[in-house]
Amino acid sequence: MDLIWLIPLLPGLGAALNGLVGIRFFSKQTAGLVAVSTMAVAFVLSVVAFLGLLGLPADERYHEVTVASWIPPIPLETANGIGSFEVPWAFALDPLSGMMLLVVTGIGLLIHVYSVGYIAHEPRGGVARFFCYLNLFCFFMLTLVLGSSFLVMFVGWEGVGLCSYLLIGYWYRKQSASDAGKKAFIVNRIGDWGFILGIFLVFFTFGTLDFREVAEAAAGMPVEVGFGVLSLICLFLFIGATGKSAQIPLYVWLPDAMEGPTPVSALIHAATMVTAGVYMVCRNAVLFSHAPMVMEVVAWIGVLTAFMAATIGLVQTDIKRVLAYSTVSQLGYMFLATGVGAFAAGAFHLMTHAFFKALLFLGSGSVIHGMNEEQDMRRMGGLKAYMPTTFWTMAIGAVAIAGIPPLAGFFSKDEILYRTFLHSQALWGIGALTAVMTAFYMFRLINMTFLGRYRGPEWGHPAGGEAHDDGGHGHAWHGPHESPRTMTAPLMVLAVGAVFAGFIGVPAALGGSNVIEHFLEPSFTAFGAFHAAEEAHHLSHTAELGLMALSVLLAAGAILFAYRNYVQQPAAADEMARTFAGPHRVLTNKYYVDELYGATVVRGTMEGANGLWTVDQRVVDGAVNGAGWTTIFSSWVSHVLDKYVVDGLVNLVAWVCAEASYLFRRAQTGLIQNYAFATLLGVFAFVTWYLLAR
């Protein structure tokens, strides 16, 4: 377990190798091999570490490894006197991070394998670049998961954002892809704004950034009745989580992120990165459980996001977008769970969701691959015949997400709904409704894609894809076909996971012991000192079973409804769209949220930027230039003064002299006799005066 730092480092090495050397020199196979093998070793190490963790007694399952100093201690005042700002490169393994570790390395490995097939049509350097990014993503994601302090987690947090940016924009020549990448990064950064402020406040409040120390300190504080400092911390952290985990109001980037290659969508935008927000909230369960007001906010944001995304998902026609909204919706569920205090249920759903959503995304990737980059479900249909493996595995995924027992989704989702019911019936109502919609849109997807009549283009000539040509295959299309083995094998593995992953969390009402909850419990309880989660009341097992039965029935009903509408009577769906034309339009336009943000935030910023630039040129620089002009003007004034007043006076004197000289020079005849005569006169005058004065 002391080698857990190797787990993130290995994919990091793979990324470095592929990035520095691979893009130029590696063949496609070598690049893939490097990436897959580093992930495989990381997975093995994770399993070993996890087993090591299991070997410990339940209350000692915490193992921290400090690799090196990062930010050495610097004194800094905190709320409790002078503290020391210090962050080491330290990684911690506990039940929660252990579970995430397995999810990330396991699903990451599968998706790496899948990508080898998926990305095979790209040019050689592109493949290495792709694997470099993908490995880099795993490096950061594992750093996020294993980081033992807020700041190390933030490293991973930002890093996965970068990789998400790079991978969404992988086909960078496509405007929409680079737009989507940029949008993802910037929206995430808005969340990060909140997150980093939350981190600062954590340090200021507790004098440390280590998760464990913070949790222990927080556990000693009273549960806040009003809105205190813990609430503020949690709110800031939750803002970060809404960015990364695509919750209202920052969810808008995730659907656009589907511009990236499908394995990326599966890994980053379904299984791992987007769950980082949930993971972070769970990691700070002690903090959150001391801030009930924020918990309420989390629950409501979660359930509203779940509901809203599900409604949008009902009408989308792009196969990946349906899944994207479904992801948003399921993430909402997880936040609902954490919001009502069921952190274990949230984490459990996180894990099961990782399986079936990765499965669904990879399946959709397989479909898109087989359909020559076609993503519009209206041009699919009847694909079951062409790609059976994909169909069956995806169907398993859909059943799992719809919450039909005994597949994985049933247990985790039901646990959440049950705990929500205990907390608030209103939340439960919305949650249950969302579950129904989930079942409906998932089977709408399955039905439109695989069942019914084939509506796609004829083969032999290129498919009428919309501008997907840049990323497209280089070869002629021979009709829908099953994907290669490297792609279907991960599907099958994930399908197995989607079926069985739920059994680790069988609730007591069904005779299980909810292993996962007990396993994760120490992570949520300040490592042995937790006392807050007094379960107010339990329902009887019968009532719990009743709730389960109800939700299963509703889900089954929704599935049948979807079957009727999209397979038996395909016209019925259009009919319905016409009947509810108004709501339908609102939904297809995603509640116009993008337009709203575009008109307010984006436009506002851009106009503000342009406005300020004008200000900069006119006012600030204007002042400078104005000062310059004033100087020049005053110098001109001085010049005028100098020329006409000062110089004028001098010239006046000269002029007067010159004019006067015209008068007096008459005397200057040049004739000596005149001069002599004048002298004589003078002599006479003086003599006369002399004589008379006597």
């Binding site: 990035g19 893009i23 090196a68 100093s69 990062w70 930010i71 050495p72 610097i74 004194p75 800094l76 005042e77 905190t78 006197g81 002078i82 503290g83 020391s84 700002f85 350097g125 700041l151 933030f154 490293v155 947090w157 930002e158 890093g159 970068l162 940016y165 790079l166 924009g169 960078y172 020549r173 405007q175 680079s178 737009d179 990448g181 940029k182 990064f185 910037i186 950064r189 808005i190 990060d192 704004w193 980093i196 402020l197 600062f200 406040l201 340090f203 200021f204 910023t605 851009m606 503000g608 930027a609 342009n610 300020l612 630039w613 900069d616 600030v620 620089d621 002042a623 400078v624 310059g628």
Partner: protein
Amino acid sequence: MSNAADTPSLLSLILFTPLAGALVLLFVGKRQVDLIRWIANATAFLGFLVSLPLWFVYDSANPDWQFVEQMEWIPSIGAQYFLGVDGFSVLLVLLTTMMGVIAVLSSWNAIQTRVKEYYIFLLMLQTGMIGAFVSLDFLLFFLFWEVMLVPMYFLIGIWGSDNRLYSAIKFFLFTLVGSVIMLLGILAVYFYHQDVTGVYTFDITQFHELNIPSDLQWWIFLAFFLGFAVKVPMFPFHTWLPDAHTDAPMAAVLLKMGTYGFIRFSLPILPEATQAFVPAVVLLSIVGIVYGALVAMAQRDWKRLVAYSSVSHMGMVMLGMFALTPVGITGSIVQQLNHGISTGALFLLVGVVYERRHTRMIAEYGGLSKVMPVYAAIFLVMTMSSIGLPTLNGFIGEVLILQGIFVVNKTWAFFAASGIVLGAAYMLWLYQRTMFGTVDNPKNENLPDISAREFATFVPLLLLAVWIGLYPKPFLDRLETSVDKVMMRVNADYTPRFAIAAAGDADAQRLTVDAAAPGVEATGTLVLPDVPVRGGAR
């Protein structure tokens, strides 16, 4: 100053190596362009080599000035030739000499007219900068400070971009006005010192122990502020920057002059005024951060965009410094290095494409990832470094600064942190517009990727970016005592870490003595001395 004994006149050597190179260049015929280039590169590289001992020999545990050189200069007014470094100057001198190498190397093809004069000015500029960083005599500092103006004026005026004369004059006037007023401030300190002690001196170490009455501090602070804020440049004084950025790597260092001035002079000499001015300076810094970022977003010229991002980043630097917390000041210095590294690199990157296309309009580019992949990759790393992605250098600086300011005032931190969103927005948008998309402009289709020489200029910057990002400890260690010395001046209650360490040593020694003393039980259990682990109580 024990270690300095081994290297008696290292600072003078570092200081005058570039100048010597410039002198040699004077005697080379102007037609021998290649010879000139080789000499200039060799000089710059030599300058870097001789500065390297600073990194290794500098004793970060020693709070005194190191590598001190002191002799008479103008005895009649008490001016001395007085050099010495602390943690701040060590890092900044090293940054300068390294950037000097990069600047000279990157000019190889970029400069085709008046090559000889160009390199002479560049080397002179380097001497000026180093001189300002190592001077411990205020008049000597001012001399170097003004010496920098002249080569910079010509560098902008002759080799600048369009409208270069306007830019050069604007730069010159801006900084000259600032420094003249600063000189008044210097003289005020000088005469006040004479008043109190009866000694005429420009010795900064003496000034650092001066307690000037607060109303006089107030005026002197204003005078210094004007001089330094222009160089930083802080918000309302920034408009010379976008016009003046010609020689990118050196200009990126040039901005450090202002912030260095603040930390070396304003803070320790005028602690009371500094505290009084904190709200004003912080306000200007935050306005600078947000304003610079927003204006950067509106730019259509690549280089101006980077220049405005500089305004934003330097706002961050000032913010951290005026947090007046050890974390904030440390972050501020680190961020100065980061700014030198990442903004310097971004300017170089603009230079690379400018050399190929002779335009800096963003709209002229697009899709360069396709034609210049290595370039795009370097640009990506530097973009990320600039927007503060963790594991790269920018993050360390930003997080220290913001944490440093956060404990002082949460509202300030809230607004300042918005810079991380806006920074991402304008840089990524720039990246998208230049690197992504299809190659629409046929002129861009056959651009060659960066050459080995160009690549060589980026390698040290990339390495440093990663180094500071992953393991900033060596840098932070070197700053420790210097930050503490500044903190002791601005905050009388502050207990510096070196004092604690010394106390710890003393205690440890006492402990060993005690242990050796007879009568102590030799159980081997050591009772830890009562060392105050956290800083002084407040």
